[in-house]
């Protein structure tokens, strides 16, 4: 099952080039891990603002690649952070799982 909207992904690839999208994918993965880590740390420190910012960035980046479900999960967490509600339950775990799936598919997609 695809976790990437291929219309969005292909449009991105077409407009920016295959080499570029591979570099962009590396950045997305690297930044994505950093953002998730920031969210975890912020959650432990009850720092809603840092939590919100990290979720905001991940939401934006996921949308760029057409990872719509991941983007929606990040958006939900962003909104909770904005509302200073850090009772996120297992949402962060669900998001991490979704991120791993997106990462795998992006790695598949960029193979020549």
């Amino acid at each position: 099952m695809s976790v990437i909207d291929l219309n969005t992904y292909n449009a991105l690839k077409e407009s920016t080039g295959a080499d570029f999208i591979s570099t962009l994918t590396d950045t997305f993965i690297e930044d994505g891990y950093a953002q998730i880590e920031q969210m975890q740390t912020a959650l432990a420190a009850k720092d809603a603002e840092t939590f919100r910012r990290a979720a905001h960035s991940l939401k934006s980046n996921a949308a760029t690649f057409g990872a719509n479900e991941l983007s929606a999960l990040a958006r939900e967490l962003e909104m909770m952070g904005r509302d200073k509600n850090l009772e996120v339950g297992d949402r962060l775990e669900v998001l991490k799982e979704a991120f791993e799936q997106v990462k795998s598919q992006l790695n598949e997609l960029r193979k020549p």
Partner: protein
């Protein structure tokens, strides 16, 4: 297709998100532009100040200095305010975007940015800037005419002196909205007509137009040639501007065209005035608190809902035949002391 779209422009992308910076830069470079980036508002503003850019793409939510603060700083800078700024934001930030456009941002794009929209908005903004730049150049060539005589008489030297004079600043309300709703050629025609009306009112009363910034006009009365009644002359010019605008708007409405509204701020006092530039190309200009205050008072016309506002010192120089309304003491942003503001009503 307009010619300028193929000419490379120097663009600055300011965004704290690396993916966004990479995406925007890549797309813009593929469209033939030269792109630089900055990671936060502060860095962006510093680069924008030194880089001779044609346009800035500015994120709203950023650390150190956010997009609002950068936008405000640029709009308060006479050199930077003529360079278009396009806001980039997430869908949820539309309220913030509206605020930015009202403040004076040229346009906006929502992220993730669509490359086709990006191209269209950037090119349209660059084209508008090109037209405004041409306009500015054109008017400067004959705005210096009045100064030429004095230059011939006294000889030309760069450098300033302290003078007591009156400054008049006028600006069109919502001009960006007007330019967006009509053809560029119509906007230029509108500007031409507006400027020639304003210039007439200023020069007929002995003032000198010394700066055109976008749709704004800065004129000085009482320098370089001193007039005892510089304050009265400036206010008279302001009233004449409004009178002429009324006639102009009636004509516009009769032709089913957009009427325009303006705000005028007039202040008097000590300021540094002189010729700046090079021996080949120089303008007569004035700087100082009096000039800044005129701009603030001009802005305040929006809130006061009166088109012509003056400060207390200008009021003191008016004969009794002028009718004024005391609006009380106003504290303007960045100023320590409250300023007594008056609306001129006739």
């Amino acid at each position: 297709m307009m010619q300028s779209s193929s000419e490379p422009a120097r663009l600055l992308v300011v965004d704290d998100n690396q993916i966004n910076r990479m995406m925007l830069s890549r797309n813009l470079e593929l469209q033939g532009h030269l792109v630089e980036t900055a990671e936060n508002g502060k860095e962006g503003l510093d680069k924008f100040r030194t880089g001779a850019f044609d346009l800035m793409l500015l994120d709203i939510e950023m650390p150190v200095m956010n997009g609002f603060e950068v936008l405000e700083a640029c709009l308060n800078d006479l050199d930077l305010r003529q360079i278009p700024i396009i806001m980039t934001s997430a869908m949820e930030e539309l309220d913030a975007v509206v605020k930015c456009v009202e403040l004076g941002a040229e346009d906006y794009l929502t992220k993730p940015v669509n490359p086709i929209l990006l191209r269209a908005r950037v090119n349209a903004s660059l084209e508008k800037k090109r037209l405004r730049d041409e306009q500015r150049k054109l008017f400067r060539t004959f705005a210096t005419k009045e100064v030429a005589e004095e230059l011939l008489r006294t000889g030309f030297s760069l450098g300033g002196q302290m003078v007591t004079a009156t400054v008049l600043i006028s600006d069109i309300r919502s001009f960006t909205t007007i330019t967006e709703s009509q053809e560029p050629s119509d906007s230029i025609e509108l500007l031409n007509q507006y400027f020639s009306m304003m210039f007439d009112a200023i020069t007929q009363n002995g003032g000198i137009v010394n700066q055109i910034v976008g749709d704004g006009v800065l004129a000085v009365f009482g320098a370089p040639i001193f007039f005892e009644d510089h304050r009265k002359r400036a206010v008279k010019a302001g009233l004449q501007m409004l009178e002429q605008l009324k006639v102009f708007n009636e004509k516009q409405l009769a032709q089913d065209k957009t009427p325009i509204r303006i705000g005028i701020g007039i202040t008097s006092g000590r300021m540094v005035a002189g010729y700046t530039g090079t021996q080949n190309r120089a303008i007569y200009t004035c700087i100082g608190d009096t000039v800044n205050l005129a701009d603030r008072i001009q802005e305040y016309t929006k809130e006061a809902l009166r088109p012509l506002l003056i400060d207390g010192y200008t009021r003191e120089g008016l004969p009794d035949s002028y009718k004024v309304e005391d609006l009380g003491k106003i504290v303007f942003k960045g100023k320590n002391q409250a300023v007594n503001v008056f609306a001129v009503v006739g």
